[in-house]
Amino acid sequence: MPNQIEVNNISKSFGKHEVLKDINLEIPAKKIFGIIGPSGCGKTTLLKTMIGFWEPNSGEVKYETRNLKEHSKYIRQIVGFATQENCVYPKLTVKENLEYFGTLSNVPRTTLKSNMNKVVKFVHLEDSADELAENLSGGMQRRLDIACALIHSPRILILDEPTEDLDPILRKDILALIKRINQEDTTVVMTSHLLHEAEQLCDMIAILHNGRLLKCGTPEELRNSFSKEDEIHLVTIKRQYADLVKKIKSKDVKKIEKAGNRLVIRTTDAEDTLEKILKVIKSQKDKIVQIDVRKPSLTEIFESLVKKSGEAPRGH
């Protein structure tokens, strides 16, 4: 199956301010596609250009092989969009908002009610269906916004910073909701400046920096492209790591550093290094509190890519 969305050489400027430069994306169907980058890197502009709110200075966007400019009505029918600002009417109830946006999205009257019930249930707002939107909590408002984007059963859902301004619990809720939406065979395109969040959720990730696309791929592909090394994070009861550091040194161990209570060891042979660590701890009659073996985080990859690009992030 061809890519569901294709972004080809998109550039967008506001006056002399170039926000997007030659962006190319290929977004496959039924995946969660994350666009990550710091605030001000052009994520929102990219999304708004992708749905036709902004007209690009150059390049084109295609949905299911159809050009956005020529088939905007059709494309708006198959795309749902939720911004980071909760695009709902505060003076309307949950149901009224859904009914209103459903009608605008050409949902037939006969199916609108069932759609509303389904969506309300899906985003867990059944108990607040008759509440005014302004009386809902931040998380509920975000869920209502997503519900409004889903009311016309779109095949593609675009979410701009869906977890922005939410506390960790609500954030977890929304991420779970996105996962469920995707499980219903809806393609999700989302932006986030919280890199670890995208790392957990997305099937594919594009890294955006100062309006340029630095890298795009699955999280695994990104990690591999960055480094073959693994990181071992270790915390012991005694937290005395000096002897351990001396004993595990080898050609495979590239870097050992202390980060707070933890000892971080970067190695090209994680299994061998782990064996050595366990032996030393046993001999010292110490005990392990926590031990993790992981690839470098997306944050590290991002930081490395930014360094390579030689550009400081906008607004920093």
Partner: protein, 511 residues
Amino acid sequence: MVKLLEVIKKNFKILIRSKSSALIILFGPLLLILLVGTAFNTSAFYDIKVGSYSPNYNELSNSILEKLQQDQYKIFKTKSQEGCINGVKTGAYHLCVIIPENLTVSQEADNTIQVYADQSRMNLVFALRSAIIDKVGERSKELSESLTSIVVGQLEDAKSSLEEKQAVVKILKNSNEQFTSGLVNIETETANLNLGDDNIIGQFKNKTAELKLQTNDTRTLTEIDDIIKVLEQKISAIESASDAIANTVPSLKETAIAESSQLVDLERTSNKIISSVEAIKVRDVETLVSPIKTSTHTVTTEKTHVNYLFPTLIMMVVMFVSLLLSCITVIREKVSKAYFRNYISPTKAGLFIVATYLTNILIIVLQLAIVLSVMLFIQPEISNTLLNMGAAILVITSSFILLGMIVGYIFNSEETATIGAISLGTILLFFSNTIVPLETLPSSIQRIVDFNMFVVSDTILRNIIIFGLGLNESLPEIQILLIHIAIFVLIIAAIYNVSSKMFNIKKYFHK
């Protein structure tokens, strides 16, 4: 159609659920009309303070002030002329009346009453000045009538005396004629006497001489001689008297003839005077005092201020509510977070414009229904004009709503849009007849102001409500409004996209 209704429904819900909006929409006009209806449902001026100063008040000046007091004017006598004039400047008095010392009715006296007014309150000044002039004029007329009635009375008396004396003149004239003819007779008779011509005495003497010769009775003869002598004396006396009469009668005749001509002259003069007095057609004192009367009649039957104010009142409600409501509806939608979702929905932009217009027009129709219901209660006769009024208001409201929508699309915040709409309304109101007559403006500006939507709309409503005319009579004004509407629609269509994108550009950079 379903989408349109859904958008209108949403607009209504949002407006009604916003307490302040609901209050303004439903109770604002009702409150306004009630206040205006109660306050202006009268034709009089209340609590008008008139300062007055005169170095010396007399009966006449006091009577003028009393006349003003009878009409609910409050009179304040000041100690000095400056105090009175300054009172107008400080707002203590609405007018200042300076009455000359010992106001009297005489040729020498200065009877000029000076009225000082604050020209910045022009409408009130004109009304009050006219009222004061009326009151002073009333008193002045009374005085004139009294003086004129004396003159006319004297004239009438003289005429009747002359008429009475004309009979006497006639008698005198007749007597004179008789006297003259008597004189002529006397003259004739005297001339015919000829006592000496017949020589009667000589004949008497001859006969007596003959008797003497025939008789010796000397005694008798002597007695006859004595008689003859007496007779001779008498005849001589008669002759002298006759001569005297003959001498006197011509002069008497001349005098009588002269008197007769004087009497004729007198009669002619008195006749002339009488006929001159009779020739004066107008002898009615009131007519003499005010030979030409002016009276102002209203072209309508209404009597209270509210009747005259009604079209302007309706216009002010329509203009401000339309401008503000449509402007706020647009700007609230524009700044609403949900605006973006509307924009990206598969719905044409025109539908939102039409829905905004229809929402506003429905709300204003609702408001006007309230206002008109109250007015129908106050003034039931306007029910005849309801249909025409409804049609006119629809056109008028449409033009103002579209103008308000333009303001809404141009500005980017509710505050600036509201100020913009109010400023626009104030400009339209200021360049209308409501505050200052348009005739006070230079003709070049007047030509532009003739196209002022407020002026045009006010004219239409005045034609319908006050003069009871049909829509045909206001066709040129309606055409002007329709042209306005067409232009506004084009402007809205042109700026809708631009303004929405501009707004989001600003929002982008703000973020």
